[in-house]
């Protein structure tokens, strides 16, 4: 699977944008890339979900894994621009409590 696009913002935040379906295959790609971002020394990560069509438990697992990795090195992982399907699945699993959604990737670390 092709890697998802990433960019770095002026405030030292890495934004990753998964495209399509975050199921078994997509989640595996995301998990590896999040590991690579943290290993590369970035600990403030935004997952821009605006082009994510679908998420299931595999995709949620990748987000939680990335969140734990970022927190372990003193950073954070935040999600932004969450479509309806993703919001519904986060609510079903109660993960909206640990992964609240921010309106846009560029404002997710504004607090």
């Amino acid at each position: 699977m092709v890697d998802f696009s990433t960019r770095t913002t002026g405030s030292d935040v890495t934004v990753i944008k998964p495209e399509g379906r975050l199921n078994m295959a997509g989640a595996s790609t995301l998990r590896k890339q999040l590991q690579g971002i943290v290993d590369g020394g970035s600990s403030r990560i935004v997952v821009d979900l605006s082009t994510t069509e679908f998420i299931d438990s595999s995709g949620l697992g990748a987000l939680i894994s990335g969140l734990k990795m970022a927190r372990q090195v003193g950073g954070d992982l935040r999600i932004a621009a969450t479509p309806q399907q993703v919001t519904t699945v986060l609510e079903l699993t109660n993960l909206n409590r640990v992964l609240p959604s921010y309106a846009t990737p560029d404002t997710a670390f504004d607090d």
């Binding site: 295959a25 679908f54 299931d56 697992g61 734990k68 519904t88 699945v89 109660n94 640990v98």
Partner: protein, 139 residues
């Protein structure tokens, strides 16, 4: 009634093939967005479980039959893989810091019925969701 059958040998495209079969069912009749989302999600979860556990990463024969009735949607998935140790009475949602183990809990939550049985040389999963929350021409 609409019925669609898919027969595949499992591989990297299996989840996409399951989804295209569901999409072909959704194209035949009005089904609410929420009901479609529930079935798409449950099939992805059970399909992943089958590929990971029954197939252990190896190719096997998988058959899916989707039946759309006025009051329910059912999906039956059968495979010729190895037996799966599954206890559907234990499908509590894991803690929020777990990065695994939500698949069956999610499927259980979005379906009205979920069952697993082992028959001669194969596994059979039955998924059913009622359409009672839908009002026709709406949603």
């Amino acid at each position: 009634m609409t019925e669609r059958t898919l027969e595949v040998v499992t591989g990297p495209d299996t989840l996409a093939e399951l989804q295209s079969t569901l999409d072909s069912v959704w194209a035949t009749d009005h089904v609410s967005d929420y009901t479609r989302m529930c079935i798409d999600l449950a099939v992805s979860e059970i399909g992943t479980n089958i590929i990971e556990h029954s197939g252990n990463g190896q190719p096997m024969n998988l058959r899916m039959v989707v039946t759309l009735l006025p009051d329910s949607i059912s999906v039956v998935l059968t495979d010729d893989g190895r037996p799966v140790a599954v206890d559907l009475s234990q499908t509590a949602m894991p803690g929020e810091w777990s990065d695994r183990g939500r698949g069956l809990a999610i499927a259980h939550r979005v379906l009205d019925e979920l069952s697993y049985s082992r028959n001669d040389g194969g596994n059979r999963w039955m998924l059913m969701r009622r359409r009672s929350e839908e009002s026709h021409g709406d949603g």
